[in-house]
Point group: C2
Chain length 436, copies 2
């Protein structure tokens, strides 16, 4: 009987492995990222899952025919390691042998080994599976990984429970027409615009919860800042005094995430030439103060993109902060589950966080009282009957609570100064792109 014992795991090579092997031999698997033939030798640039290693082929010292190698081939190589400050990470491998594991049937249609791909976003997306082989393109998604992992570690350290909630739902949480519809065994169903109802539900028994999951908005925008499917970093917490407790938690989380990125993703931050923001004191302005600051008409009910840019410039100049909170928006333009402000029922206990000119978070305190929620639903011209199971959470009791949602791709886009949000999504969904 054959047995599997989980003891013989394939490993991946790291820079430390090269360092440890200096003066000795190393073997690993990689993709031939680039080939440069010089007089009497060739550079074979090897791409692993995270690194780009420089190796050298000489006919005399390597058992194998260089003409069999091509860019895009996957190979197993063996060689000796020496230090060379001109090589990537300071190490160079002198190839002794290689084995070809697989070969492409066509050459790359893009300059995968270039420092920047240098093609249009449209070409990039058409050949997405090739574009992502470019080290700069893929590095974006190591940063995404780091943001998610930093967020998650912070949440778990702070007693938040990770939840998974359904994305096929019977009603939209955020209202409006921007919702994808589908048939679910004969019933009308929708794709979740947020985990709002579900994360609130879970506060009743877990006190604090978070979720990292897809969010769907059927918006017909074709902009550099909208995706129709994106990843939401959501949390919700009970027992708050007011929404500032939520903002405190977000600020501490962002500080943790930036530290986590600095410690674990220096390589990718360097490839992307990115500078992380310092998360110190984040200023708060009310919505009407914000309008005043940007010189907008006080008849407005929301901030537009130019206002967001101007507010961030203001925060940077005046408080040396790349973030700014805007709070207390007109209640009618915020969700029906937002708590009205105690001092003025026309305002909602709702906030946005702006970062480098873009809204990356919407959050606030929610209504926890049953009668208050029923009344607000009616005031919004909706029918409480349509929210029966949602209203169960208020009926059977909820603590005062609040939370927020962060758009992962927006945060990553701004962290890395990417011109288009599509570059922060592995396989972006917009009004024209459904494939790959």
């Amino acid at each position: 009987m054959q047995m599997i014992d989980g003891q013989k795991l394939l490993s991946c090579v790291t820079i430390d492995d090269l360092k440890d092997a200096v003066g000795g031999r190393i073997s690993f698997c990689a993709c031939v990222h680039n080939l440069r033939h010089m007089s009497g030798f060739s550079f074979v640039i090897l791409r692993t899952g995270r690194y780009i290693f420089q190796s050298v082929y000489c006919e005399d010292t390597c058992n194998g025919d260089i003409s069999e190698l091509c860019v895009g081939a996957y190979v197993s190589v063996s060689g000796t390691v020496k230090t060379d400050e001109r090589a990537s990470y300071g190490y160079e491998i002198t190839l002794e042998s290689f084995e070809i594991l697989s070969k492409p049937s066509e050459n790359y249609p893009l300059h995968v080994s270039a420092r920047k791909l240098g093609c249009s976003i449209e070409t990039n997306l058409s050949y997405r599976s090739v574009a992502l082989r470019n080290p700069r393109e893929r590095a974006v998604f190591k940063i995404s990984e780091g943001v998610c992992e930093g967020f998650r570690q912070f949440m778990l350290k702070n007693a938040f429970t990770e939840i998974h909630t359904p994305k096929i739902v019977s009603a939209g949480a955020e209202g409006g027409a921007n919702i994808f519809k589908l048939k679910y065994f004969g019933q009308d169903a929708f794709l979740a615009q947020s985990p709002q109802f579900y994360k609130q539900t879970c506060v009743a028994f877990f006190d604090r919860v978070f979720e990292i999951a897809p969010v769907y908005r059927a918006e017909k925008h074709n902009s550099t800042r909208h995706l129709n499917e994106y990843i939401g970093l959501d949390f919700e917490m009970g027992f708050i005094k007011d929404m500032h407790d939520v903002m405190q938690m977000e600020t501490a989380m962002l500080r943790y995430v930036m530290d986590y990125l600095a410690q674990n993703y220096a390589l990718e931050l360097s490839i992307l030439n990115a500078s992380l923001p310092v998360v110190q004191h984040i200023p708060i302005v009310s919505f009407f103060e914000a309008l005043d600051i940007v010189g907008a008409s006080s008849n407005k009910f929301d901030l537009d993109p130019a206002d967001e840019v101007a507010l961030c410039e203001y925060a940077k100049e005046k408080f040396n902060s790349e973030f700014i909170f805007v709070e207390k928006f007109p209640a009618l333009r915020r969700p029906f589950y937002a708590k009205n402000s105690p001092e003025d029922a026309k305002l909602a206990e709702s906030f946005d966080l702006l970062f480098r000119g873009l809204e990356i978070t919407t959050g606030g305190q929610r209504i926890h009282d049953y009668d208050e929620q029923v009344e607000k639903i009616k005031n919004f011209g909706m029918n409480p009957e349509d929210f029966k199971s949602y209203l169960d959470i208020h009926k059977y009791g909820m603590p005062p609570h609040g939370g927020l949602g962060i758009g992962l791709e927006r945060l990553v886009m701004k962290l890395l100064d990417l011109p288009n949000i599509r570059q922060a999504s592995l396989f972006p969904r917009d009004i024209t792109h459904l494939d790959p």
Copy 2:
């Protein structure tokens, strides 16, 4: 100007906090889980996000009127802590004061404070937001959290990159009619049956990837082991020799997850009276050996639920393993991306992992060669043109690779010996349940 500095975070009480406070005072927030009036005093059982604490109210020593408290109210309490081995975790709080933060407008329709809810699954799901306030019901989802976190930690430690791939797709990866359809800005679209194409794509540049995300199957099953939306734990890895490398990785991962649960979730495992499996040597049988073992006809092309139970009994008796791998299934019943077995093209390099009588994983080695994949698509009676962007990954080169998908709810169901998979999903989706 108001500022948020992320320094004043609301905290949650732990058992260690009670321990540290013995002989002194403690203050925290909680839900009134149960009230038991005795002669001269009352037990006020307090539920926090993870714990159930016992407190005692005496009119003489507590500033507050007990008649204002009700089950389901959320409160802030202060009191002194003493050890009492009869109390939960060995500590009892003598209440000195309390403040009511919110009250329910109706009493719980279920016995939330009972050790087991004791209602039908149908009633449980109808009042899902109440049912989950039962400590045993909610404990299931701390175990889910632990499985995900253990899986993720293992993956990250082993150089897998976490990815997020779209769930709105242009083609089903797993074929068949079991797919949800939707309109995407006028185009026909589907909900992803798996992240298969995307995780393979990412192996081309990350070598190893994993994803934890929803998976959709429009199966009309109404069984105790099927959900129409579930969480898939997926990974995919390059440079494998054969599918046993994938099975080795899964075995090591499962061992890590079980250790992680034992170390971090002893409380919930005890509430649920669950026993974790020992992950040692997992036997492998071929599909045809499996048929032989269970005495099934060799004309079968797949295992049925009774076969899965019988195979697990066999593995337990013969090898003292609660897991068993079944490999080399008939190729025509496995996906079109599965590599054919080198020794017999009628078989696929595809495996299932069975655990306690249930299939929890499907995995295998994938085709990496372009011509081989085009031919297999044709042999399956499909048109390569319909898989153009998927075939790009083969055309421009892929290493030999393989991977697997695990159903989170199935694994949790079997870990905890739950009779119905719906109990392992916070808000299950089946053919009749779309709400809550």
